[in-house]
Every structure is written in C-alpha cells, then in structure tokens.
Subunit: 580 residues, 2 copies
C-alpha cells in the first residue's frame, strides 16, 4: 500500500488546475445550498439537535477530500444512517439528553475506526455479502419507517419508536392532539417542496429561464422553504401558537473534542456501529461506482473504506454523528461538474459559513418544515418495484427481499438487515447443497456432451457420465454420494462412472472424503470411477491426495477423450431429443 | 410420504424370517452385554443417576426398530451427546437435584420433537452444513473434554465444568485431595479395560479359543469389570474407605410418564436441543450410511430423522435422556449379524432384564470404574490425524478444524459447534466471492478453449474471452463487474467481450443487475457484450429478462461458435504455453 494510494489527494493534488478549481467551486456552492436543509433535517431524524447535522457536514467532507477516491461523492448525514443512529442510540439514552448526543458522537467514532481498520486490512469484500435484494428491501423499509416517523412532526404530536408497530400505535394514539397551526406549516412546506421537485423547473422554463439557471433555482428551493418558514414563524409568532420550533442553538462552530469513551458504551454500540458501517459503505460505494462509471473512472473500494472511516472519525471529533456518501447530493455534485474531491472540501467551507450565518435564525425554524423535508427526501428511496422484479426473476430472490422488508418494518433496522443477510446466505447454501446434475451423452458427430434430457445424444450401456454443476464442498458432498450410489444401484450393467467436472471450482476436504468413499464403494461393486474436465487449480489440489492415488479409473483432460478411451468398440445407444 | 416409508417396520416385518430372528437375537445378546456398562457410564457423564442410562437404552431402541431404516444402527446414550446434555442442563439446575434430571428428560423431549418435525418436513439436508472438518474437530475436542472430566472420578476428587479451562483448574485445585483407594480402583479398572480392548483377544486365540468365541469374551469384558468392581467393593468394604459408590437406585423398571414442561424450561433448552439434535443426527446418519454401504443397502436420511426423533420422545417418556446412534455399538451389532431393526427391540428386552437383575447390586458399583469405562470408550473418538490431513490439503479446511477444536475446548460444545459452522460458511462465501477467472484462447486446430496462462492458444486482438469459474451471485457480483471493467480499461483495442459460462449454475438477481450494468457500460464504450456456453437451466431463467432483451451482443451455444462468428477473417495472436 503506497502513500499515494492511502492519500489519493497526493495524486490528484499535484495536477490540480485552475479550470478544475472553477468547476469544483461551482459544484460546492450548489451542494452547500442543498446540504443545509438536509443536514438540519437528518439531525432531527437522528433525534439530535439540528446544529449537529451542520457539524457533521463540515470536517467529514474535508477528511473525505483527503482520503476518498471518488471525484463526485458527497458525504454527510443521510436518511437511512440517521434512522439507524436513532435506533442504536435510543436504546442507551433518552432523546434530548446530553448522553444521547454524546452516544451518537461515540457511534461515529467506533464506526470510523471500524471502517478505517477494514480499509487498511483490504476488507472491502465484506460489502459483497449484502445482496441487491437485501439492500433494496432494507432501504425501502427504512424509507417507509422514516416517512412514518415524521408524521408526528407534521401533525405536531409526539410519536416514538424505530419500527412500524410502535410508530403506528403512537401516531394513532396521538392524532387527536394534532396542533392545527403545525399541521398547516407542515402541509404548506410539504406542498412547496413537492412542487419545487416536480413543477418548478417546467414553470421556470416556460418563463424562458435558461435550463441551467432553472436547475440552480430548483436546487436552492428547499433552503428557500427553510428561510420562508423561519420568516413565517417570526411574522406570525408561531411559537406561541404551539408550533414546535428548533429553539436556541449554540452560536458559531464547535471546538474539536475527543469523544468520551467507556467500555459499557463501546460494548453496547459495537454491533450497531458494525451494521451502520457496512450499510453506509455499501450505499456509498455503489453511488461512487455508478458515478465513476459514467466518467470512465475507477474507484478503489478498500480505499473508500478508509475515506469513509476518516470521515466518521472527523465527524466524531467535530461534534457530529455517523455520515456516509449520499445518493442525491452526489448526483447533484456530479451534475454540477465537481472535478476532484476538492469540491467536497469547498462544500465544507460553504457549510461552515452557512452555519455561522444561519444559527442566529435557526431557533425560529418550525420542526414541521424539517419533517416535510425528510418526507420528500425519502420518497425517492422507497422502491417497491424490486418486489416485482424479484418475483418475476426467482423465488429465492423474492424471499430475500420480502424477509428483509418485513423484518425491518416489524422489528427495526438491525434485526432487519441481519435477517436479510442470514436468509440470503441460507438460500445460497441450500441451492448449492442440491446442485444441478445431468447425465450426459455425446452430440453425434461432435466432441460436445450434453444433458440426455435436453438433447439428442449417444451413450454407452456400460458407461454413465454425470456432470455436476457446482463446486464440491461440505454442503453438497453427501448429495454427490447419494446421486452416484443411486445411479449405480438403479442400473447393475454399469461398469464405468465418469464424473465430469467442468463446473467444479473447489473440492473441499469434506467433498474429497466423499470422493474417496465413492471410489471405495464403486470399487467394491466392480465399477471403475473416472474424472473428466477437471480444472487446473482443482487438479493441482487433488494431485497429492490419497484419493488420486487410490482412484480405480483415470483423470481425463476432456470428456471426449474419456469416452474415446473407455467406449472404443462398445455398443452405442442413440437417444432422441426429449421434448422438455 | 406413504405409511410404509413412515413405518419401515411394515416393510421388513412382512418378510421377517426365522433365520433373521436367529441372527437378530444373537446380535441383541452381544449388544446388551456391551451396552449395560456404557449406559451406566454415559448417565454418569451426563451428571445423571446411572439407572437413567439403562432407561435410555430400553424404549428408544423399540421406537427405532419401528421407525428407523438402518438394519444395524444401535441407538442409546452416547458420549458426545451426554456431554452436551450435561452442558445444557448444568446451566439450569444443580447436578444431583430432581430439577436436573427432569430437565434432561425435557431436553430429550424437545430434541425428539425437533428431529421428528425435521424428518416429516424432509429437512435431512440441514446435516449437510456440518462439514467433515467441523464434525471431526468437534468430536475430537469433545473426546478430550470428556476424558479430562473423568479424571476427577478416577482420583476421587470433585471437578466441575464442561470446557477445558474450568475443568483443568478444578483438577489442579483438587489433586491434593486424591483418595488413594479410589485411584487404585480407577487405575485397575482402566488397566483391565485397556487390556480387554487390546491384549485379551490375542491371548485367548493363543489359548486356542475360536476367534468368534474370543470376540464374544472381549465384548463381555467391560460388564465383567463392572461385576468385578461390585464384588471388590463388597468384599473390601470400599465405601467405608472413601471410594464413591453409585449408591441406592430405584428397583425395577420406570413407569411411563409425561415430561413436566414449562415455557421457561423450553426456552432455555431450545438452542441446546437444536444443536444436540443436529449433531446427534449427523453422527448417527454417518454411522448408518457407512454400515449400509457395506451391505449395499440404502438408508433414508429424512426417515432417519423420524426414527431418532421417535427414539428421543421414547427416551423422555421412559425417564431417559437424549440418545442417538452410537458408532461402536452399531459396529458390534453389525458384526454380530443383526439382520433387521428387530435386533434393537430384542436388545431393549435384554437391557430391561439386565436392569431388573442388576439394580439390586448397582449400589456397590464404584464410580471410578465407570469413569475408567468412559475414558477407554472416548479414546477411540479422539482423532488428531484430521489436523494433518486438513493442513496437507487446504488452509481453509485446516482453519475450520482448528477453530472448531479450539473454540470447543475453550468455550464448550455449543459455542464450539456454532463457531465451526460459522467459520466454514464464511470461508466458503469468501472463496466463492473471489472466483477463479481465466482469459481463454483456442487450442490450435481444436474446438477447445483454455486458460492463456496455462496453455499454448490462439486469441484475437479485438476479442477478449473470460471464463468465470463460479455461479454468479450476490457475493461475487461486484467482483465480476470489477474484473470486466478492468480488462476493458486495460486494453482500449477490445471490441468484443465474451463471458464464457460453463461453470455458472445460478445467476441470482444481484448478479443479473451486475450483468445489466456491464452491458450498459460496455455499450457506452462501444464494446459488444456476449455470453457463451450458458447452461440450460440458467438460460431458462435469463430468457424473460430485461438483460437478454438489451444485450448488445449474442448468446452462443459454444465458445467455438462465438469465436467463429466474431473473429472470421480477424488477425490471430499465437501465444506460447506459459511455464507456470
């Protein structure tokens, strides 16, 4: 691992040009405008004071600019990770207490250490164990939970819980206490934000505004809504009418501080931090890869772990909470022309300036406006189409989506993602434990061998050729034995069994012992056991073993060679193509 | 599922012959003689009164005779399951109490229900997830723990714990209180049992005894030692000299009873019962399969689950504890000529008679003799050669053995087996997440395509053919993308990418989405994406998908066809065979 691969800034920083600076600065301005309301809102979603959202959008961006490999990724608080933070920290302290905030800071710290450690150990592969169906089901369920959790804010009632049953119960119980002025602010904010997202751009273009400028205005829309809501709260004295406002926030920027660790806290947050790290990494790296592919760039997943780790450590030192790369803001950053990770550092400066300018007025911001911001933001991550795609493609994939979604909705984020991973791994093991096997015969006049059930082929009465379509390992070793014993006991005329292995990539010790058992048992029955088309790496492993030494038959390079050797002059059975 | 497959007795019972009866009766006598001391000893190992070992060897054998499919399997208390019982029940109640005994009975009941349920649901495949290395490591570790746990009995000191650290500590702490008469009884028993096992048969044959009779005397040896020990205890009044004796036991046979269940007890015993069920089943079914293979019979693993389930339910109703098929006694049963499961039922009668005859004298039996019986019995299950074999074959298999053995020794049976399963599954996922891939070229003059790194082959500059040697699924979907993007970005001259899929048995939804992404990205680069040698079942799945619809290239039946179509007239690169 070279210094340059650990600090990608050393690579792109050397050739940083004036034109890149211009592009990065422009992108930073736009992302800053977009990030301010989101940072405030996601802090609220995490149950934290809104200024912590701003803090989490300053230092982490600088850290990512130094350690990250994506030119377009914009890190900061995101919806799903904020929900996971709330779920994790909510078990340890009561929302609104100092312990709650400091637990969130510790969570970012632990997660940062884990991500950095995994990156230095090149463990990016762990992300592979979260399958698309599991991630999709999880994200959609999280979006539904998040949207539901904001109903309280919108109606001015108090709700609680991080999973559907508790949330819905508290919404139903509280709905009678709806505060109408709050609901009015919430619905107006919601309507405005919806319109900005869907109707504003066409309207501006109708007004002959250039498309580029129209896009810019749309991006600035949510921050306008925030400013409008603050103005309305001041003008109509909404606080006195029962509308929950953000209230006093500390002025200025936070001092750097070291999180207060204790063994109990670290133990309690270890598992949640691990899940947050992996989910955050998977989300972030897939955004980064998608955007990199568009520009024919490559990102380094292991270094991305280091980049996100550094960002989370920076978040915890700067008084923030867990962060990761966000999809919407990264796309905006990309579209706005961010040329290097420096765009992120400039955004950090922008957020710092915004924090200084905005905090005096934040106290007047109605929480209902932030709730509306969250609801509009998460609607884009709720994607029920994965159900249809999975159902249309395969039942196991559908089962993985359905279990993940249902478990997450009912039992919450940590149980949900764990159940999803468990189910997808079990499904995979189950499938590979009953591998596809085919009795094969020769396609007449060729060197090709195909399934006798699907093709018109020739076979020989004394020889049975079995192709096994899976690596041989502990989960299917007994299946292999059963399969071959079954064939031999069904047809006493068989003298040779050829196991055709073009799809066998691993033979583990359990399978090797099964092969030994098969060889021994067939030998007792006077049947010779052969292998064909064994792959190079598998053969290298088998060479030194007792099994190859004791093998009654031969190992043939090709199935054609096996049949030519064993069946010369033997009678031929012509089999018609089956109608399956 | 027919009535006959659920009650195998209906099949073999119809044709039961006089000669079979003779063979079965002979086998039953021999197994009875062998089983009596073992039953007493394993009850002691489980921390239970010795008569429960006898009870566990009566009704379960009858139940297996009705429901089991193996002609030779002898069920009853076995060493490893007894240790697991002690570990599970020891967390709930203190050894020697009535609660302890009734918890063991409930454990047999839950395990019986689980096994029967898994059998009726045809879930025999779960046994596949215990790999040979994990089972070997676990059994060897259990044997070491069991042998160590009997040191206390041999020395007349009190030890405790079901894992090495606690056991060794208590042995060291207690060794000063050794009771010399107990140690004498223990060592004499041990020496006699060793000699019976190794030296008696040659000695008898030297005395011109027929081999068959010599074997019979050897088999009766351990029960002789028990009777001798009882006689010695009476003659020398060993009880008064501080030798621990079995003490008063209830006379006669137990009444049938229903185990006393409570929700707390069932909850606490659920996980241990699951592990005991699976480990017991795996052990039992592999013994049954080994013996069946010798006689060219087949056993039905799913029905074996029902058979063992019924045996455990019978054990719990008859006042016993968890049972399974034992290796040593099944081999003896087999060698003695057991022809049908009826041999087990006759053994049950034998044990019942022995119970009636023996219980009046059992109170005088020194526990040290039972400890010696256990030590001699478990020495045969300690097999450290698996280490050497695994190390010589592959590091992942060695890791699985080592983790299982070490974890079992240090943390006990339940943690040990769980860690073993987890590690072997993770290793498998990790290996298949970085599948072997090969760039292939044509072996000149043939239709065969081989790895360019291993063979002298021909390729074409505009075409790259990649063979992926693994099913495509969530754990390696990103690897595939990285691999193909890497190839294309390394060589800008490439116009066609052919993914050769002879080893691809599954394409799950995650991999399908990766294939879509690859196709889209290559299309953006002006590169066409093709597939070749896609298996029938995989192609059936792919047919209806968006991916096949959008695929820029073609799906070729063979790689030869792909190259013939795409490379006609194209220049050829001849590559020499590499020296690897």
């Amino acid at each position: 691992m070279s210094l340059r691969s650990l600090f990608p800034v050393l690579k792109w920083g050397r050739t940083y040009s004036r034109s890149q600076f211009g592009s990065d600065l422009m992108a930073a301005v736009i992302v800053t405008i977009m990030l301010v309301p989101q940072s405030l809102a996601y802090a609220l979603l995490a149950g934290l004071p809104p200024e912590m959202g701003l803090y989490a959008s300053i230092l982490p961006l600088v850290a990512y600019a130094v350690f990250g490999t994506s030119t377009a990724l914009a890190v900061g608080p995101v919806a799903v990770v904020s929900l996971m933070t709330a779920a994790a920290v909510g078990r340890i302290a009561a929302e609104g207490t100092a312990d709650y905030a400091s637990a969130a800071i510790v969570l970012a710290f632990i997660s940062g250490l884990m991500l950095t450690g995994m990156g230095l150990l090149r463990m990016g592969f762990v992300a592979n164990f979260l399958s698309h169906p599991v991630i999709s089901g999880f994200i959609t369920a999280s979006g539904l939970i998040i949207a539901t959790s904001q109903i309280g804010g919108l109606f001015g009632i108090s709700t609680h819980g991080h999973a559907m049953p508790e949330l819905l119960t508290s919404v139903v119980a509280g709905i009678g206490q709806t505060n109408l002025p709050t609901l009015a602010v919430g619905l107006v904010s919601l309507a405005l934000l919806f319109w900005i997202r869907t109707g504003l751009k066409p309207a501006l273009i109708k007004l002959r505004l250039p498309a580029r400028l129209a896009t810019l205005v749309v991006r600035a829309g949510p921050v306008m809504v925030v400013l409008l809501a603050i103005a309305a709260a001041g003008a109509f004295n909404l606080g006195a009418r029962g509308v929950a406002l953000v209230g006093d926030v500390p002025q200025g920027l936070p001092l750097l501080s070291v999180p207060g660790l204790s063994i109990d806290l670290v133990t309690a947050l270890f598992f949640p931090a691990l899940i947050i790290s992996i989910v955050g990494f998977v989300e972030s790296v897939s955004v980064a890869q998608t955007l990199a592919a568009k520009r024919r760039e490559r990102i380094d997943p292991d270094q991305e772990l280091v980049g996100l780790g550094a960002s989370n450590l920076a978040a915890s030192f700067g008084g923030g909470f867990p962060v990761t790369g966000g999809f919407a803001r990264s796309v905006v950053n990309f579209d706005a022309g961010a040329a290097t990770p420096a765009a992120g550092a400039f955004t950090a400066v922008g957020i710092a300036v915004a924090t200084l300018l905005l905090t005096p007025y934040l106290s007047l911001l109605p929480k209902a406006t932030l709730a509306a911001t969250i609801i509009v933001a998460v609607l884009s991550i709720i994607d029920l189409s994965i159900f249809k795609r999975a159902l249309g493609y395969s039942r196991p994939d559908f089962a993985a989506v359905a279990v993940t979604l249902a478990t997450t909705l009912v039992f919450g984020v940590e149980t949900g993602i764990s159940a999803g991973v468990l189910v997808s791994v079990l499904i995979f093991l189950y499938r590979s434990s009953r591998p596809h096997t085919a009795i094969v015969g020769r396609v007449p006049g060729t060197e090709h061998f195909r399934n006798i059930k699907r093709h018109a082929v020739e076979t020989h009465p004394e020889i049975v050729s079995v192709r096994i379509d899976e690596s041989l390992y502990f989960a299917n070793a007994r299946f292999l034995e059963d399969c071959i014993y079954g064939l031999v006991s069904d047809d006493p005329g068989i003298r040779h069994v050829i196991l055709m292995c073009p799809a066998v990539n691993i033979v583990d010790l359990s399978a090797l012992e099964s092969l030994e058992a098969i060889n021994e048992r067939l030998s007792g029955l006077g049947v010779t056991f052969h292998l064909s088309e064994v792959k190079g790496p598998v053969m290298d492993k088998l060479k030194g073993t007792h099994f190859i030494h004791e093998l009654t038959g031969q190992v043939f390079l090709s199935q054609h060679q096996a049949i030519s050797t064993l069946a010369s002059g033997a009678p031929v059975i012509k089999r018609p193509a089956a109608s399956v």
